[in-house]
């Protein structure tokens, strides 16, 4: 474990840039902390934290003036690895018939500030897009070239429950360098060969035992501070046994089916592909766009939506995250980031919905 002076954080960004990476990280924008290009550490939202609750997000100043005291904004890294809008290929009419062309991805990007839950979300999307008979090329190209700088959280947000989902608050694997911000210094640990190469370019020294115990105390503190809990014991089976529970109707009556939860969720991966033709009708593009299981068209077949009620759509979303994801990928689809709770305009809380179903296990609709 190495120690880096706080003032030297910009050197990490500089080293990554010198290695040819475009550095992306948290910055202020749109009334929230969002991800964008970073030229130096000055651009980080240093000294800001958020107040987060169901349906509520507010930025405020933190006298401690740390670089990474805030937690998660509305965006996750999926906006880069699985872009919301992506041209899959272009088609041109030619004498031979049609010609298909796709563009390869050549950029090298580095994500600075990947939290533990975010790292786990990336690993979950890897299973969806890569660990398949047909790996997804656009995702693969982006994922293989990305450099990940993880950051261990020093505070938990009001909607966080990564301790329950065992996805945080401390990074376990997958990133190239992990940062831990302490009072006076950063701790740095390299986890890959390219991580070691970048770390080697920085003026670090061996971390003191004092610093290591400060890091351990900080982790304990974050665990105690979790805004929420989710009882995951037998949860998948519980939900599958309660598909006719009256709570689905209750939550369906509150849900606006706006799809915000699916847009902010770092593991939600669904998309649609649209045909976009130029005015002359000679060229066309297949454009992939994020889609949401909350839309009525999502399941359109034979002229009907298979899930016409809000109740059915909320149930699909939540049971996919917490139950059927286990059947599909041998793990849960939720990393406990709490974004779906914070960014739901009516404050629907996945942990609360699960708790109510557990409390009244076996209840069912009067009419079914």
């Amino acid at each position: 474990m190495r120690a880096l002076a706080k003032d030297n954080l910009s050197l990490l960004i500089q080293a990554l840039r010198e290695e040819g990476y475009e550095v992306l990280g948290p910055r202020m924008g749109e009334g929230a902390i969002i991800y964008g290009p970073l030229d130096s550490a000055e651009e980080l939202p240093r000294g800001w934290i958020e107040e987060q609750e169901a349906g509520r997000y507010r930025l405020k100043r933190d006298p401690a003036n740390r670089y990474f005291a805030f937690t998660l904004g509305p965006q996750s890294w999926k906006k880069y690895l699985h872009p919301p809008n992506l041209c899959l290929y272009k088609t041109k009419k030619t004498d031979q018939g049609l010609e298909f062309k796709s563009e390869s991805w050549h950029k090298k990007q580095a994500f600075l500030g990947v939290r533990a839950c975010e790292m786990e979300a990336i690993l979950k999307q890897d299973r969806v897009f890569l660990e398949q008979l047909h790996p997804d090329k656009p995702y693969q190209e982006r994922r293989e070239s990305v450099f990940l700088v993880g950051v261990n959280c020093s505070r938990a947000g009001g909607a966080c429950f990564c301790v329950s989902t065992e996805t945080g608050p401390t990074l376990k694997s997958g990133d190239d360098i992990t940062l831990t911000e302490l009072e006076e210094i950063f701790l740095l640990e390299a986890r890959s060969a390219r991580g070691r190469a970048v770390l080697g370019r920085l003026p670090t020294e061996e971390a003191s035992s004092h610093a290591l115990s400060e890091a351990a105390r900080q982790e304990e503190h974050v665990c105690r501070q979790m805004g929420r809990t989710l009882d995951t014991e037998g949860l998948a089976e519980l939900l599958k046994n309660n598909l006719n529970h009256p709570r689905w109707k209750d939550v369906g009556d509150r849900c606006l089916t706006c799809g915000n939860c699916t847009m902010v969720c770092p593991t939600c991966f669904c998309f649609s592909v649209e045909e976009m033709t130029d005015l002359a009708g000679l060229e066309s593009q297949r454009v992939r766009q994020w889609d949401s299981c909350f839309s009525e068209q999502f399941t359109l077949t034979s002229g009907n939506s298979q899930r016409s009620s809000a109740e059915a759509r909320y149930r699909q979303w939540m049971t996919h995250k917490l139950a059927t994801w286990h059947d599909q990928f041998d793990e849960s689809g939720c990393v406990g980031c709490g974004r779906c709770i914070v960014w739901c305009p009516v404050g629907i809380d996945i942990t609360e919905e699960a708790a109510v179903i557990r409390e009244k296990d076996g209840a069912s609709h009067a009419n079914s």
Partner: protein, 272 residues
């Protein structure tokens, strides 16, 4: 995934809204599939849709799709003529487990265009006829105009390899065969075979499949040997887009053919 370029070699009309397109790869790559698998077909400027492969397995250089014109993309496909090009990705999905029927009786039930994904099974049966016991086809169409593969049905009926029963939902002066929904033929079929040892493949509109399944299980067909081909919205065909999910299944890769045993718990849930 970029489609492969295919060229239409022959078009035949199955009914007023349904056409079979024979095509071959523009760069001469052989095409292999298993009965019940589907392709994602791309029509320039319109889009891409899942379409079952309806021709002979192991023909190497041509592939046949039978397309019903119901909307933008399917219309564009049915309007293709010999020499025209389209894009093809596939084959995708798990098809009919024909090997499970080897040595035993096989019951095929089709409604409407549901005969298209079952036709390759029939070709495979005819190709190695002695490997199967009795093979029965129950086919129902809405009306005489909507019947598909009429010529072939007649050939199969006249031959001795299959026992073919065709019914129309609506009576027609030009039709002297059976009238009624296809499930009304189940009892007749069940008398010809040993249901508890038979394998059944069902494909048709959702309601038809629901009732057929219920009927066949009631007549003693084992749920683990009764298979249906399910339909959902499909955008990718390879397990990435999420649209085709049905309970824990991605129908594009875990299906479209699913055994009834695994389905039974989910069938009880509305709007799954």
């Amino acid at each position: 995934m970029i489609p492969a370029l295919f060229e239409v070699t022959e078009v035949s009309r199955d009914n007023e809204v349904t056409f079979s397109l024979e095509a071959r790869s523009k760069n001469g790559v052989p095409f292999h599939f298993r009965p019940g698998q589907f392709n994602m077909l791309y029509a320039f400027g319109k889009g891409e849709i899942p379409i079952s492969i309806s021709g002979k397995p192991y023909t190497d250089h041509t592939v046949i799709h039978t397309v019903q014109n119901v909307g933008a993309v399917s219309r564009a496909l049915t309007e293709l003529r010999p020499g025209d090009s389209f894009g093809l990705r596939g084959p995708f999905g798990r098809g009919w487990p024909v090997e499970k029927a080897l040595g035993g009786d096989l019951l095929l039930m089709a409604g409407g265009l549901g005969l298209a994904p079952l036709r390759p099974v029939i070709y495979e049966v005819l190709h190695s006829r002695s490997s199967f016991g009795r093979v029965i086809l129950l086919y129902g169409a809405r009306s005489l105009e909507r019947l598909v593969f009429g010529e072939e049905l007649k050939q199969w009926q006249d031959g001795h390899d299959l026992e073919v029963f065709v019914t129309l939902d609506i009576a027609d002066p030009e039709w002297n065969g059976h009238v009624g929904v296809v499930t009304s033929l189940c009892r007749t079929a069940a008398q010809l075979i040993d249901a508890s040892n038979a394998t059944a493949f069902i494909c048709g509109p959702p309601i038809m499949m629901r009732f057929s399944m219920r009927e066949l299980l009631g007549l003693g067909v084992q749920p683990a040997r009764c298979f249906v081909s399910l339909e959902r919205n499909m955008q990718c065909g390879v397990g990435h887009c999420g649209h085709c999910q049905y309970g824990p299944l991605f129908l594009c890769k875990d299906g479209p053919v699913i055994d009834c045993e695994g389905l039974l718990p989910w069938l009880k849930v509305k709007e799954l």
